[in-house]
Amino acid sequence: MAAAEVDRVTPMFWGLFSAGGFVVAFLLPVFIFMNSLAYGLHVVPWEKVEYGGALRWIRGDPATALLGSTLGWLGGWLPKLFLVLIIGGGLFHGLHRFKYVLYDVGLHRAKKVLDPILYGIAAAGTVAAVVLAFSFP
């Protein structure tokens, strides 16, 4: 094998794993709480989670109101960017880690099949997140 042959693919996925790890660590718990549990625990009212409330959330109304007239335009971007970061980061981080779980239980022989499938799912999910999130006004 030529000495010049450098593996540039593996470090890239480790980089995404690491970046996703930070995103998931800092952003995911608060999102799960607000998105899945807060209403059930009577922390937020129904108006915030029902259809209209969800649309207002993804439109960035609270952020726009808080940021004022100079930074208000950012408000509409924040929830969508937040969703893409969490979904994309979570998928690239989680599936990379899950890959090594599968290697550990003996699937390291199936590397050539497993890697494209797992990273393919992560990439497709991230694209879906971008398309869906930015399809809202």
């Binding site: 718990p29 608060v30 899945s36 549990l37 959330w57 109101a65 981080h93 899950f98 999910g125």
Partner: protein
């Protein structure tokens, strides 16, 4: 193809439950398992966005499922694993010295403490900024 060899290496037998023998290994396996829940939640949110795009009837049907007791329980489990991920992630990033203080890597306790403080502050900021408070 690999070259055929005549040697017959000894492969030590290992139980599938080897990790239950030591609390450190249990924590390791649970941390690794958190990845499954993170991925699951990413897909649940994609499903939620899909339902939201489907209009008010589709989204109400989604919410009935979302706030049912089994789903609340599953989401609580996902949150527990997400918190386990956060705490273990801060603990492991503390082992990678990104900067030095007087030529020495910062003490792990300082890095973990700072990460936890940033985590809490950022979470509160998100509640305020994206959700307009409680």
């Amino acid at each position: 193809m690999a070259v055929e060899t005549v040697r017959k290496p000894y492969v030590r037998q290992r139980s599938a439950w080897w990790w239950t023998k030591n609390p450190r290994y249990v924590l390791f396996q649970f941390r690794e398992l958190s990845s499954v829940f993170v991925v699951l939640y990413a897909f649940l949110v994609l499903w939620q966005l899909w339902a939201l795009r489907g209009g008010s009837d589709a989204y109400y049907a989604f919410l009935v499922m979302w706030y049912s007791r089994p789903m609340m329980a599953l989401n609580a489990v996902i949150l527990a694993f997400a918190i386990l991920h956060s705490v273990t992630w801060f603990a492991l990033t503390a082992k990678v010295p990104l900067f030095r203080i007087k030529g020495r890597p910062p003490p792990a306790a300082l890095v973990i403490g700072a990460s936890l403080a940033i985590w809490v502050a950022l979470s509160l900021l998100i509640v305020k900024l994206l959700y307009g408070g409680f």
